[in-house]
């Protein structure tokens, strides 16, 4: 067998095994967005109309997609050869928009994000609460504009807390109209 033919055969072997080893069979994808869509198909919801946000911390990227009835949140991480896979610790998946508006906090990604189903809500205000046993303390407050997709987010600083005994939550969400009038409160 001549060398050109052998080279072609080796390339085919590399390609086929590469697809098998690093492709779908091993749940590795070419981008964080592809991981999001693959998760949605595997969990049988979506697909997201669009990617609203990608937040990168180190080798991990949080991808948030827009669903017709909520958000799709998938944690991804860099794998071999520039490929991507689901991040350690599982994923949030679909957040169904049950309330008119809601807000969530991710300590890993130092991010607060949320949605509003009410198109009148143009801006929101909310707080980060540290819970330790029965003690609850507001440690930070944010104001964000809500975009045309009803999505809002803000980066947070690194909060000092004991992850074994304390928890951080995004709470006390208020929604305001264009004129700044309070039109939504979860209190």
């Amino acid at each position: 067998m001549n060398r050109k033919r052998q080279t072609v055969i080796f390339i085919v072997i590399i390609f086929v095994l590469g697809i098998w080893r690093f492709g779908g069979a091993q749940q590795i994808y070419v981008s964080p967005e592809k991981v999001l869509y693959a998760c949605e198909r595997g969990l049988h919801y979506g697909p997201s109309d669009k990617v609203l946000l990608k937040k990168k911390i180190g080798k991990e990227v949080l991808v948030i997609g827009k669903l017709s009835d909520g958000l799709s949140v998938v944690k991804t991480e860099k794998s071999l050869l520039g490929m991507w896979r689901i991040g350690d610790g599982g994923i949030t998946g679909k957040i169904e928009a049950v309330k008119d508006a809601d807000v969530f906090y991710s300590n890993t990604f130092k991010l607060v994000y949320g949605y509003s189903k009410n198109p009148e809500i143009k801006s929101v205000k909310f707080s980060i609460e540290k819970v330790s046993g029965d003690s609850r303390n507001i440690i930070d407050t944010f104001e964000c504009t809500v975009d045309s997709d009803g999505f809002f987010y803000a980066d947070t600083p690194e909060y000092e807390y004991d992850s074994q005994s304390q928890y951080l939550y995004a709470v006390d969400l208020f929604g305001f109209d264009e004129s700044g009038n309070l039109i939504y409160s979860e209190l």
Partner: protein, 239 residues
């Protein structure tokens, strides 16, 4: 046989071939050819010195042969060939253990049966089915419905992903809330389990299923994905 004339000839030929990786093969091939010629001359009664001289003469100009061989044994193609061959070997090695594990699990999942969580002899009746529904890249196949004397209804089904699916392969289990009877009762008390593998086998045991029901209805409807199967039952266990 080690002849200085032959070695000199080979050295001159190889001095033109830039792809050194092939030197050994070229040397071996030319040596064999020259030895055959030498033996041929000797068998015709030609003396050693003449046979050696003729052997080298008959081979031709070593510089011309060397240049031709250099074209045939291209350095660029040769290095690409070596690189992809090495990469192919690495890929094969990297794939052997996962392939073995996957194959073993795949074979096991194909040929293994359902885990017998209940004694089949307690079943009043069982109904074999073969309803297949696809949601996204996942196939759902209802295989059997069993009804037990204590009014438990067991639904057995298997799921598998289509080959080369790009979905993340989460396991899929029917939630009990999608089980109804023909009288509109929705059942929520249940237990179940699944096996892993290429083909997953699942069982769902619905507790307190009405003995009067004539049908069990599987009505899964989530985010536009639907599984709707009606299974006529042998009500009262008379058959």
């Amino acid at each position: 046989m080690l002849l200085p004339e032959r070695e000199e000839f080979l050295k001159r030929v190889l001095s033109h071939v830039k792809f050194k990786y092939d030197h050994l093969d070229i040397k071996r091939e030319l040596t064999e050819h020259m030895e055959d010629m030498y033996d041929d001359f000797m068998s015709h009664g030609i003396d050693e010195e003449t046979a050696t001289r003729l052997m080298v003469e008959y081979m031709g100009d070593p510089d011309e042969i060397g240049e031709r061989l250099n074209e045939q044994h291209s350095c660029v193609l040769g290095n690409i060939w070596r690189a992809v061959r090495a990469l192919a070997v690495i890929m094969v090695i990297l794939s052997i253990i996962p392939a073995f594990n996957t194959s073993l699990l795949a074979v096991y999942s194909v040929f293994s049966g359902y885990s017998e969580t209940r004694d089949r002899s307690e079943a009043i009746y069982d109904i074999k089915r073969s309803d297949t529904v696809r949601i996204d890249d996942l196939y759902f196949k209802l295989e059997e419905v069993l009804y037990y004397s204590d009014n438990d209804l067991e639904i057995r089904y298997r799921t598998w992903y289509q080959p080369f699916s790009k979905s993340v392969r989460w396991s899929f289990s029917l939630p009990s809330r999608c089980i109804y009877d023909n009288m509109g009762t929705q059942y929520s008390d249940s237990s179940g389990g699944s096996s892993a593998g290429l083909i997953s086998r699942h069982y769902l045991i619905v507790e307190g299923f009405s003995p009067e029901a004539e049908k069990v209805i599987i009505n899964y409807d989530y985010d536009g994905r639907k599984i709707y199967i009606e299974v006529p039952l042998k009500a009262g266990g008379s058959e």
